[in-house]
Symmetry: C2
Subunit: 149 residues, 2 copies
DNA sequence: ATTTCTGCAAATAATTTGCAACATC
DNA sequence: GATGTTGCAAATTATTTGCAGAAAT
């Protein structure tokens, strides 16, 4: 990786390698979706994401958005989340450290945080159960600064 | 609470008080569902739970099971979870400490654990964001003892 | 007697898939 | 040219709701 490349360039490269490995094709739609995905805010549902294309008069269909989000998840560029509502939400996981979420039950606001201490404790607990962690999700639900008086 | 009561008796009492407060009625179905819910294993979906009644030739319908699980959640006897599959799963939260989960991505096995240290760290983090925690979910996904060689 | 509940079947909501026309390799 | 993709519409899956008859207060 060349550090003078932009983040988009590095992500595209990873995506293209992944597609080639799986004998999949690099299409205009897939390229455009990756660009948007990296620039768009976090925690977006497939439906919300599709709306962005619709509003930009892009003709990309919902299925393509949906299937491409799955591809991005498979190749490690995206992560899926299910918070309280019943949508599957996606966020970029490219060149970002793992982080967890504070979710306001009043306004739905999502605040991200990282904690090396908690992760260390998780590893200890997993070890004591002879369990190997691949991934984790920690969500704290409650009232954000705006909604506790 | 009388400590010579059984757990079921104590849970029933809590449920009855809740129903009365909400001007809801105590029906045969609701009683039967509570009994089953306390005796049944954890992390059951509404559909799986309904199947138990069906197989016991109980005529309780799916909607009643579904709506009663919601009631149990509302009055604090049950908790909802969404793990990797797309079912909402329920577990008893009556007279049990809050616990978190290790979920095997190979066999779906769920191991429960508690960690006061992690909870303390969560509180610290929340405080630093001026956030008040109402609830939390921590899930560690990976390979259980049987599935890491 | 009034109010709430049940169980069915039908509606909803999000996700997933089949397929004919099209694009990429 | 062979293979994979797109966008539509239709299918699927889990959840939720409307309603007439039944049960609880």
């Amino acid at each position: 990786m060349n550090s003078s490349d932009t983040k988009l360039q590095r992500a595209s490269q990873l995506f293209e390698v992944y597609l080639k490995r799986q004998s999949l094709k690099l299409t205009k739609q897939r390229q455009e979706i990756l660009v948007q995905f990296l620039s768009v805010g976090h925690h977006i549902s497939a439906e919300e994401f599709h709306l962005i294309f619709k509003e930009a008069n892009s003709k990309i269909g919902f299925s393509t958005v949906y299937r491409t989000l799955k591809l991005l998840t498979d190749c490690g560029l995206a992560r899926e989340h299910q918070f309280g509502d019943r949508f599957t939400r996606y966020e970029s996981s490219f060149e970002t450290d793992h982080h967890d979420h504070l979710i306001c039950t009043q306004c739905g606001d999502i605040i991200e945080f990282e904690s090396a201490e908690i992760e260390a404790l998780q590893t200890t607990i997993a070890k004591s159960h002879n369990f190997i962690i691949q991934d984790h999700k920690l969500e704290l639900y409650g009232l954000c600064a705006k909604h506790n008086q």
